[in-house]
């Protein structure tokens, strides 16, 4: 279901809610007297429009309408859901709740994003206290699914649950994020104050270790996986001190998740590899150094008089599909990387791209001759079939243990990145391409070259 939502206060969290609702198909009415509110809102929604659909392989519903309103009554009148995101000042919030409740429908959901205030405090001076609940998201609201819900009325809680789920969020009953975060930050600030650690160390401990690990099953789920440090922390007191209160409910912890198995560890590792590669793509967190390692290990391409070695790697688990072998798109991923390496050898580097030239792929023909399983190591060697004018015609052969498993034939056209139209390559790329094409003209090529699909040649 969708409807009308009123966003009261559009700072980081309010703007994030606006984006989440808008892209979920809701009509969004915003009240925020700050002169910078509209610009911030537009920037947040623009980022959400680029990022949120990327989570899905299916289209989002058509977005709703966004409108800005000069008064609270105008924004909330007729709204199904009202989300308050004002600064954490109790008196301000209480006054605003009175204004909201004078104008909104009594059956509307009225939720506060307050991170630090209790529901009792928020409700204390309200006209209809039971209408107010707390729903605490995590920034960026339009991407992270967490929504901590404090709503003692079961019927309202059910409506909230259904709406949040429809928005792609995952409601969690209660509110623990702020306490957990505060406990960790307090300890961190103590260590910094006492000269035991720097902020950089704290950040490294989280981003290079604990946080990617906890992203899958949280700290207790991780502990019940039997991961060394977390298990130790629960049983012995991880900082070397004894627990002052023995955690009497340890049995409850072990019930929170099924016991670990080799299959669970394989799943954990596959998800970690995927996460770290995502961080690698943006050069951040635990993925920041991975591209440097690749650059230090690029294989030598060999002499121009033979097909050039343009790729060598193994098949990661998440490159395989339900048929148990490397999925077809990853063949083109690998051939595309080989083409990129060939372009690097020609001298198409960051400077060349910045000067406005590049090659775009116009056509691709892939033949699958054998299967590649997870963990298989393969190499790609590349022959240049033609390198005259704007054309670059490449022939890639992918081999595993000497067996030809696939071929990739690619026609690329050199373009101007400014006009996006074909244009001849500049020196010295043109000369390098001509030289390799000439050296490769004498090489024999396989029977698949120049073939159409279904062609018996």
């Amino acid at each position: 279901m969708t409807g009308i939502v009123a966003i009261i206060g559009s700072g980081v969290i309010g703007a994030g809610w606006a984006a989440r609702f808008l892209l979920g198909g809701w009509h969004v009415r915003v009240f925020d007297p700050d002169p910078g509110a509209e610009t911030r809102l537009e920037a947040t929604i623009a980022r959400a429009k680029v990022s949120l659909p990327g989570l899905y392989d299916t289209p989002l519903p058509p977005p709703g309408r966004l409108s800005l309103h000069a008064t609270i009554p105008e924004a909330v009148s007729g709204a199904t859901w009202i989300q308050e995101n004002l600064p954490e000042r109790l008196e301000l919030k209480r006054k605003v709740f009175q204004t909201i409740q004078a104008a909104c429908a009594p059956e509307a959901i009225l939720a506060s994003s307050s991170a630090g205030l209790t529901l009792d405090a928020l409700r204390a001076c309200a006209t209809r206290p039971a209408q107010i609940c707390a729903i605490r998201p995590c920034d960026p609201v339009y991407l992270l699914p967490l929504a901590e819900v404090t709503c003692p009325e079961p019927a309202v809680a059910d409506r909230i649950q259904a709406i949040l789920t429809g928005l792609g969020m995952i409601p969690s009953d209660g509110s623990v994020t702020q306490s957990l975060q505060a406990a960790l930050l307090r300890r961190a600030l103590e260590m910094i104050r006492d000269g035991e650690a720097s902020p950089v160390q704290i950040d490294e401990a989280l981003r290079l270790g604990l946080a990617p690990l906890w992203s899958q099953r949280g700290p207790f789920g991780t502990a019940s996986d039997g991961a060394g440090p977390a298990q130790f922390a629960l049983t012995e007191g991880a900082d070397g001190k004894a627990w002052t209160d023995s955690p009497a409910d340890t049995p409850a912890l072990s019930r929170s998740s099924p016991p670990a198995s080799d299959a669970r560890f394989v799943q954990r590792d596959a998800a970690l590899v995927g996460m770290l590669r995502a961080l690698k793509a943006e050069t951040v967190g635990a993925g920041a150094g991975l591209a440097d390692a690749d650059r230090a290990r690029v294989p030598a391409q060999g002499a121009d008089t033979a097909p050039l070695l343009t790729a060598a790697r193994t098949v990661p688990r998440d490159w395989a599909d339900y048929n148990g072998h490397m999925t077809e798109a990853r063949y083109l991923h690998a051939f595309g990387n080989a083409t990129d390496r060939f372009m690097e050898i020609l001298g198409v580097d960051a400077d060349y791209l910045a000067s406005g030239g590049s090659f775009f792929t116009a056509e691709t023909h892939i033949r699958h001759l054998a299967e590649l399983r997870i963990g298989a190591a393969f190499e790609i060697r590349t022959t240049c079939l033609d390198g005259t004018g704007k054309r670059m015609h490449l022939w890639h052969e992918m081999r595993c243990d000497g067996v030809l498993v696939a071929t990739g034939e690619h026609m690329l056209i050199h373009v101007s990145l400014e006009t996006r139209r074909p244009a001849p390559p500049a020196s010295p790329v043109a000369e390098a391409l001509a030289r390799i094409a000439q050296a490769h003209a004498r090489l024999a090529t396989g029977p698949g070259v120049g073939r159409a699909i279904g062609d018996p040649r």
Copy 2:
């Protein structure tokens, strides 16, 4: 550089170190009297061999040799690096250090993985105290890069730094992980004890919110990005309590990372989307519900008498390349998904796969006719050109705003998943395929069908 490493104790952490060193090209000698040690070691190394190479686009060095040893002197004699991973019992560790130092080279690096014991305690009874240092990794050691190093001798610390970096790890000076983890778990156990929270809630708060967020820049880096809750936690006390000690060194925190910009938020969002998609692929953490949302939103394919709608989505940021448009492999990713959807329409579902039949792609021909930018929405419609015998010949047209941007022509062969050889499809898949192929025989197809690369037709 590589060399010989001795692993003393091969539990979760020791086996993880063994795998990290082995795949880094080191010869690994293991001492562990536990009868289950060898099996555990083999399972860990097998998982590392499948997962670790997946982080890289280049080949790892050839792995070293693994050997198991019955005594500590045999394992450590001649080793460049000795890593101790015994249970957290100080007396045991002290005794073992004496045995190790009686047999190892005085210049060998001798490191403890101890999570809870201080370096002073570890060194206290040693023959050569200054030889001992603490290097604390995070499980799984072969994937997570964190290595917290406590080594007061600068020359040794430099050697450790160089070796860990060569192993793909990121050394961090000091030891804060255990204290941070303990502070968070203590608070969590207090809330559980007091009936304020369940272990599930704690895990949800971390895995659906804080942990994916912290994976990029850690808690202080996140706070300086201006993310709402973390910023609040630092300035006001996130749990509603005032700080007992004002964090006098807040200026140091703001220096720990550059200020946030729109570009930083775009990067953060792109990395988050990639991480969540990795979690989606393994149905875990914040990605667990995303596939359900897709299943609920599969577009209706339409009548058999027209090309079927087999995909509709937008271009995520990480599908684009340095040329600023959708990278070539993602065209085949999208066409592959369209083929999967076509197979689903035929009745190729989990049951059918379990019965032993599937289609494998034999050949692919892609033509690029226009560019697709980040955020562009596209659709794929599919015509079945042939569906007789074992063959399934498909023609995909990809359109954005009505403009044909690419075509994909695919020849698939039906196979037995047992023999991995061609075999005819079973009922009712064969009949569904024949019916659609017949209905599609009357449809006009574009000029690119059956064309070879460079063919002027």
